[in-house]
Subunit: 83 residues, 2 copies
Amino acid sequence: MAVKARIFVTYKESVFDPQGQTITDAVQSLGHPEVKKVNVGKFFDVLLDSTTTDVAETINEISEQLLVNFNLETYRYELLEEG
Amino acid sequence: MAVKARIFVTYKESVFDPQGQTITDAVQSLGHPEVKKVNVGKFFDVLLDSTTTDVAETINEISEQLLVNFNLETYRYELLEEG
């Protein structure tokens, strides 16, 4: 069975998000003062075979080994679909 | 009233995602053959004041003006919370 999981990676609350701040400024300059704040993040859509493996374990392992910089970032994931 | 919207930006289906391919290869090399495919995307969390503006219009405008490269990318958004 195939499962699709989406891993969201964001800066920790305590870490400054320079790209988000730049985009906030740009959006306001473009005539949208109603936009108060923009934060930027990445996501990874992972398609995996759940018959031979534990999905949560795989997601956590690849996040920790490869996808997330724990000095600056944090992550969460959700399952999108199974089939 | 403040509304938080999350705008998801991904490559179009027809566009090759080199970062996703590289990550797929790396994850498989790290001992996860159960991972079949990884795709990468960005998201923007936008906090905006909905009392003076139409939320959908603002989201579409800033996506088109700034956040999305329509040659390569496509976007969708969802409202996360209101309060």
